[in-house]
Amino acid sequence: MQIYLPIAEVSVNAFLLLGLGGIVGILSGMFGVGGGFLMTPLLFFIGIPPAVAVATEANQIVASSFSGVLAHLKRKTVDLKMGTVLLIGGLVGSGLGIILFNYLKALGQVELLVQLCYVVFLGMIGTLMFFESLKAIRNANRAGGKVIPTRRKHNWVHNLPFKMKFRVSGLYISVIPPLLVGVLVGVLAAIMGVGGGFIMVPAMIYLLGMPTKVVVGTSLFQIIFVTAFTTMLHATTNYTVDVVLAVLLLVGGVIGAQIGTRIGVKMKAEQLRILLAIMVLAVCGKLAFDLLVQPAELYTLGESGHS
């Protein structure tokens, strides 16, 4: 069934959108990532104008994250205090990100920046996570299936001022690192048009030392507010949020997220991480390939900036 999208001004198959929403929703529920880093390129691919894809995706992430966070709240795996600190950083970051985005848009190089951001960050995080989880799985096997709890290392993160107690995470650390993580994620989220979960989740695990159990729920909590903020910004300045597209994606997405959250609970943390790492590396590889190989069509059409 074809549906004409009023803002995107293209006609697409409704079931294709429902399916895409569903698959990305499952992944988002499993890994606690908004799924934006998968969905946004997929939307480009099926012919949605990039500006509409980025703005609408922000709206859709709100829905799937909300669905996911409710499931996590019920199991008490959300650190609200940590989430709030990350959120403050995130809002500041997304404001900065939009300023940077508009500056580069004026230079005409914004697409390149977005693609390079994807390749660099996805590549780095994917590789790190992949080897780390591989090591963890090997260690677990060697120990006869039992995971030996490693004592948390004390690094520079633990020597900063303004310490705060995060009871749900079982941490007593300075608020500076979570704030900085929030800002970084906010900047990248605004530039790349994603929720930023795929950067925040590893940062929370490796940098802040949060237990994997609460990481997913907490990142979803933060993502809701940052993407809601981004949606409003896009809707009021660029008029590029397509509500029909968003509804189709989120109907598939919220159902997928519920299924994904339940799959995620049944899997071991290491397995979850290695799967996420493989997925991140696959997307990174595809984008790098596009940058390195000569495209079939060297020319692209864009909206004129002077109109």
Binding site: Q2, I3, Y4, P6, I7, E9, V10, S11, G47, N59, Q60, V62, A63, S64, S65, F66, S67, G68, L70, A71, K74, G108, Q109, E111, L112, A228, T231, M232, H234, A235, T236, Y239, V241, V243, V244, A246, V247, L250, V251, V254, I255, A257, Q258, D290, L291, L292, V293, Q294, P295, E297, L298, Y299, T300, L301, G302, E303, S304, G305, H306, S307
Partner: protein
Amino acid sequence: MIRLCALLLLLALPAKAEEIVLGLSRDQVAITATFEGSDILVFGAIKREAPIPDRSELGVIVTVAGPDEPVLVRRKDRRLGIWVNTDEVEVDAAPSFYAVATNLPMRDVIKDVEDLRYGITIPRVIRSVGAQVGDSAAFTRALIRIRAAEGLYQVLEGAVDLEQETLFRAAISLPANLTEGEYEAHIFLTRNGRVVDEYITTIPVRKVGLERWLYNLAHENAFLYGLMSLTIAIAAGWGASAAFTLLRR
């Protein structure tokens, strides 16, 4: 009514040798939620007082053009091993949609001079003053190539049926990815590649119903529209969560 008046006025004018009398299968296109593209049948007759001139061939050209808009065309080049946008040319005005249908091969129905004057073939329709890059013609060609691949620019040689040098008809199919605006249908009558009569009519292409309402809301009440989008998103997220909780019981 206006059209009828215009037609009567045309009839009253001192006659050209051959004139177009036109009909359209629809005088507007409505974009609904399930819009999948639309066919427009352009048909008409050639009215003449004198017998058909037998020495020359009669050409009929039907064009349908969407609203003009500026387009930025970018070209990629390899820099430091990766493909990046390097050059760009702003094309001042290019129609969002353009179809040109003829009854004979293009070079037989219209001379270059006349094409230049009336702007009939696709390269003649696109206005590009751009001198920013040396080979700006390559950018215009790329624009045509990309839009043609999307079905937005169509050259339909031989798509006009002409019977008895009097009745003609052409079906133009509008694709699903249409933009709104006043579309112009142009009919040219040619003899020996020279235009002898010209007829213009507009076909409004408009979103209707829900599509219209959402589009207006998004542009006129952006804040409200944004809040509505967020509310729908949160309600859907909450709804799915509640539904799954019920299912598990």
